[in-house]
């Protein structure tokens, strides 16, 4: 284990040292990692010069292969080679509607409320674990390229990802050993890259059609502030669906020409899907594509697909993107002529008929001057650089929103909306509920996400019980449930009986996510076999966290300690710091965690005073400006 450097109190090591932070686009088809070097956001390449890492993970008996090599093996070993795992994040088995055409052995994990797993030769793998392999590969690539350990990462998610999908992404990052600075919505990331590159001002639309997800976001760009006005989309619509239409067409052709056509083997399914994807890409620049291959039963496939046929086959998918687009425009209260520009993001937007449809809808030519495959990672890297503290005094501010309404189940299976979609984050809302029976002492609360009126049409996020309500007449109790959505778009819920102040503070974990124990056990598994290794890793993590905390508090003390604290108050905080520093030299990770909590607790008043001072400072600055005018 490397020795940790812990500086004397008040003497942070090299405070202006450049922190290594990256932006990661964890895509359905391809993933990328980017960073800001010498003020420029750049995508990092692997040793073969590839920027894109195919999001493909192949499990061997004792090894995991990620990327091009795995992709090359997908037709040979389809069952153990997982592609487009992003489609399964935060999903249960019954959510996957096109299972018949996916060559994996899905298993429902009954220990965690229907979360799906995939049976591979290396054992059962959850989508979170599979995604973590992709993230680990990108982390290794970045650390090699940058020559050091990463401080943190911004990871992008589709704007239309729900809470379960976001939580799963964060879990995957944790499993990969990444410190997540922020989950950032992909279209917002694209807007950052585009907006800063072009010094854009005004209202822009980001049309983002990826491998498996579609997002539309409308943003107002003004002096470094990126304000998302509305977002909409479809988290199960992407380039993969276009491949699939070609696949089905080829299958129909072959079927009609072959007597006694037998169902495809897993290898043949994967082979034809690959051929379908290649045909789609070929049709971007050519009039027709030949699809030629030999199936395992000896049957020869030889079909020609014209652009016109392809357009006809997939027209309904293109139209499917326009409905969310219209809704987002309506939510933003904007008309077409108020849109300054439309930015295309995602490899699937290379298809000419997508471009034509977008152009016809917005009555202007879409902007494509940034590589649609890279723009999301480039934007995420810019945000990571700012969040890591490398660009202080920066004007960049991202004001993102909730893509879906959050609500509670009420009588009759109806949804009571608490936070409407398109609310700026962070946001909290309280809602009062009452009992419906005399003497009722418990209440079940069911949190759902979605726009529909019936609970059964929305996604269930969590169920919990509020116990200890004092017995009262029906309708007399007042239970206040507070929803808080943080800047990552993740939800926590607390409930309180108003007359009795019974509080049940519950962090809502999505119904389909992993629980804390599962994460911990996966983390432990990844640490290695020996007990001593696990203990050492736990201690190391606790000390790194403690060090991060001490650094943060010392920075705050250096800034405001003299003006906001009495000598006595300052000494109290210092005593806690000293105690924690002493424990960091020891071997008790539990004691380090406890002392960290105590130190954090001891600074709560100081934190509140600093926040008040920040508010004053924000508007005092305005008065100075107006004096100068």
């Amino acid at each position: 284990m490397a020795l940790l450097q812990i500086s004397e109190p008040g003497l942070s090591p090299a405070p202006h040292q450049h922190k290594l932070a990256v932006g990661i686009d964890l895509g359905t088809t391809n993933s990328l990692v980017a960073t800001v070097r010498s003020g420029m956001s750049t995508v990092l390449h692997d040793e073969h010069g590839h920027a894109l890492l195919p999001s493909v993970v192949r499990y061997l008996q004792d090894a995991v292969i990620v990327g091009h090599e795995a992709q090359a093996a997908q037709s040979l070993d389809p069952v153990n080679t997982i592609v487009s795992v992003k489609r399964f994040m935060g999903r249960a088995l019954h959510d996957i509607t096109d299972r018949a055409h996916i060559p994996y052995h899905f298993v429902e994990n009954d220990s965690s409320q229907g979360i799906l797993e995939i049976k591979t030769r290396a054992g059962l793998k959850s989508p979170v674990e599979i995604s973590a392999e992709i993230l680990k590969t990108l982390k290794a690539r970045a650390e090699k390229a940058l020559g050091g350990e990463l401080t943190g990462a911004v990871i992008t998610v589709p704007a239309y990802f729900d809470d379960a999908q976001r939580q799963a992404t964060k879990d995957a990052a944790r499993l990969a050993g990444l410190h997540v600075l922020r989950l950032l919505n992909e279209p917002t990331a694209a807007a950052v890259a585009y907006g800063l590159d072009n010094a854009a001002e005004g209202v822009y639309v980001i049309y983002d059609l990826g491998g498996g997800t579609f997002d539309i976001s409308i943003l107002r760009l003004s002096k470094g502030v990126f304000e998302v006005l509305a977002t909409n989309g479809d988290s199960a619509l992407g380039g993969d669906d276009f491949d699939h239409r070609i696949f089905c067409w080829v299958l129909d052709q072959v079927r009609s020409k072959t007597k006694d056509f037998k169902p495809l083997s897993e290898e043949d399914t994967r082979l034809l899907l690959t051929k379908a994807r290649q045909a789609k890409e070929w049709l971007t620049d050519n009039h027709e594509a030949n699809i030629v291959c030999k199936l395992s039963n000896g049957a020869l496939v030889d079909e020609t697909l014209s652009v016109a046929q392809f357009v006809a086959l997939t027209e309904h998918l293109v139209i499917k993107t326009l409905s969310p687009t219209r809704k987002a425009m309506r939510d933003a209260g904007l008309s077409i002529d108020e849109i300054k520009g439309v930015v295309l993001v995602g490899g699937a937007t290379r298809m000419p008929h997508i471009r034509h449809a977008v152009q016809a809808f917005f009555e202007q030519e879409p902007l494509t001057n940034l590589d649609p495959d890279k723009v999301v990672a480039l934007g995420a890297a810019i945000q990571a650089n700012v969040l890591a503290g490398n660009r202080s005094g920066d004007e960049l501010l991202l004001l993102d929103i909730t893509p879906l309404s959050l609500g509670l189940e009420t009588m009759g299976g109806l949804v009571e909306k608490v936070i409407p979609r398109n609310s700026t984050l962070p946001i909290a809302r309280a809602q009062d509920f009452t009992t419906y029976k005399d003497g009722q002492t418990a209440m079940a609360i069911h949190v759902v996400q979605g726009e529909r009126e019936l609970v059964s049409d929305c996604r269930s996020l969590a169920r919990f019980e509020l116990r200890g309500i004092p017995p009262m007449a029906a309708g007399a109790a007042r239970i206040r449930v507070t929803f808080q959505v943080d800047a990552d778009g993740l939800l926590s819920v607390s409930a309180r009986e108003q007359t009795n102040s019974v509080e049940a503070n519950i962090t809502v974990k999505p119904s389909y996510g992993l629980n804390e124990d599962q994460i911990t056990s996966m983390l432990k598994d990844s640490f290695g076999a020996a007990e001593s290794d696990k203990a050492a890793r736990m201690l190391r993590e606790a000390v790194v966290d403690a060090q991060r905390l001490i650094e943060a508090i010392q920075a705050a003390l250096a800034e405001d300690g003299d003006t906001l604290l009495s000598a006595d108050e300052r000494q109290q905080i210092q005593t806690h710091i000293d105690a924690l520093l002493a424990l960091c030299q020891g071997t008790d990770s539990h004691a380090v965690k406890q002392a960290s909590d105590a130190l954090n607790h001891a600074t709560e008043d100081f934190a509140a005073k600093r926040m008040d001072a920040s508010v004053q400072k924000a508007l005092a600055g305005k008065n100075l400006d107006s004096l100068e005018l």
Partner: protein, 170 residues
């Protein structure tokens, strides 16, 4: 409880310069947003989330005319009581019924232009009521409560029309 007008250093009145409100909002978020506290202690991150949440809430309340009027009355101790008090003067009730009928007709006829026209009508109605409420808040706050209830009703019709248009467009 923080006064939202004071938070943005704005005069406590119905008429607001929206450009100033927007500018103050951005300045505040630029200082308190959780993105500015990623490397701070958990205590400071919690403060940041709470303050950024408050700033967002205050901005929403002051930005929308109906909620701004409601909030001004609330500061004067006058509840608008929109959930329970649905009593309306006869002429407003008649107008309500006509709007609802126009909506139903458009639903059956799948007539989106008619719905757009209805939205425009709601905007005109809302503007007139907003001018009225601006005066009432100063001169006759108890009457303003009724006007806020009317505005709330207009907002609800607009929301429903928007939702119906979205349904018809699908």
């Amino acid at each position: 409880m923080q006064n939202y007008f004071a938070l943005f250093q704005l005069p406590q009145q119905f008429e607001l310069d929206m450009a100033v409100l927007d500018a103050q909002y951005r300045k505040l978020q630029a200082e308190v947003h959780p993105d500015k506290f990623v490397n701070a202690s958990p205590a400071e991150r919690m403060q940041s989330m709470q303050m950024a949440t408050l700033v967002n809430e205050a901005y929403q309340v002051l930005k929308q005319p109906t909620s701004r009027a409601r909030y001004l009355l609330q500061l004067q101790g006058i509840a608008t009581d929109e959930e329970n008090n649905t009593a309306m003067p006869g002429d407003f009730l008649m107008a309500q019924m006509e709007w609802r009928e126009a909506m139903d007709d458009a639903r059956f006829g799948k007539d989106i232009p008619a719905l757009d026209a209805l939205l425009k009508e709601m905007r005109t109605q809302a503007k007139a009521l907003q001018q009225q409420v601006a005066n009432e808040i100063v001169a006759a706050p108890t009457q303003a409560a009724l006007t806020v209830r009317k505005l709330r009703f207009i907002d609800k019709v607009s929301e429903d029309v928007n939702q119906l248009i979205a349904q018809l467009e699908d």
